[in-house]
Symmetry: C2
Subunit: 202 residues, 2 copies
């Protein structure tokens, strides 16, 4: 249940994996409903129908639980779209970000983990790992575009991918301006235009 994850994905693994999946699902629900401040391990155990001792032993703190949730979100996230053109790929990325952030549960969940990261270094490190994974997943769009001659050789691929997300997260977290398909199209279009102009040359 995160940026790029299919709902209802079946996970492999035995009882330990099933317990983890149930607890992380419950943690995500609780975060989306009450934010990081309202997160409580006993409440998560109840929601997941898992023994409280198991949750305390395995995750110990709410920060530990958020960090594991973010690592799981990174592991479970889906592969990038490959449309064959840079503009198409960046647009697919931008629309996925808007879809994720405007989904009521996922939007609330992302706000909760980003807020947690502002005041907790361990949550911050897990958040940064999550985004590093997503950026790495999408960066080949740009390196392949450079091979096709769509952008200058040496274009910083990670920076172009960040540039697609940045205006969308800025609206989401900071300015409060609308987050719709138009915003996605403009974010992708601007990142592509700046990349073609050589603004992300390394």
């Amino acid at each position: 249940m995160e940026e790029g994850m299919e709902p209802g994905t079946v996970r492999p693994g035995g009882r330990t994996a099933r317990v983890r999946a149930a607890v992380l699902q419950a943690a995500g629900d609780a975060l989306a409903e009450h934010g990081f401040d309202g997160l409580d391990l006993a409440d998560v155990a109840r929601r997941a129908e898992v023994g409280k001792t198991t949750v305390y032993r395995r995750w110990a703190t709410t920060t530990g639980l958020v960090a594991d949730l973010l690592d799981d979100m990174a592991e479970q996230s889906s592969p990038r779209t490959d449309t064959g053109s840079l503009d198409g790929d960046l647009l697919a990325n931008a629309r996925l970000v808007v879809k994720t952030l405007t989904d009521p549960r996922q939007g609330a969940l992302f706000k909760a983990v980003i807020a947690a990261a502002t005041c907790d270094p361990r949550a911050a490190r897990a958040l940064h790992r999550f985004y590093a994974t997503r950026i790495e997943e999408w960066a080949p769009c740009v390196t392949q575009a450079a091979e096709r001659g769509e952008v200058p050789p040496g274009t910083d691929a990670a920076e172009v991918i960040r540039a697609v997300s940045a205006p969308l997260y800025y609206r989401f977290l900071v300015s409060g301006d609308g987050l719709d398909e138009g915003a996605a199209d403009r974010a992708a279009g601007a990142a592509g235009a700046a990349a073609r102009a050589g603004a992300y040359g390394s």
Copy 2:
């Protein structure tokens, strides 16, 4: 003490204005030290050397205090830089944003108010008003650049200003990538290149 404000600015006004200035300064200090969750009206009154009753009567809640702090930050913020060229103006803006977000007190204060906005609608509205004010202050850089023929007529000025800040806030709040002069230069350069290419045409 915020994006674009000179430290030590002398404010006009009588006792009421002095009390407000002392309380908002103390609120900013407390937010920078302990975040929104640690904000406490009695502690702010003590720091400001103002009667607790005065603070409770005038601001009532921590959210009310944060909203007033943000409105004051918007009122006190300094005018934009006018270098005579779009690239120069956007670069000045980007460097100001980086300077603000990397300043220990101001960076912590911005993280605290942005985190508050993720879980409190009143704080969110005040945050959005603050950024609307800053965007409005800097937008003439772009309209004047359009008049000089540097960008296509009809370029969405507010969107270009948002595009300068967005990658810097994305690093600050989301991805954790470095926030230095190089990031500022690249943010300004990419926004200018995309604007010249017509990516912000309205």
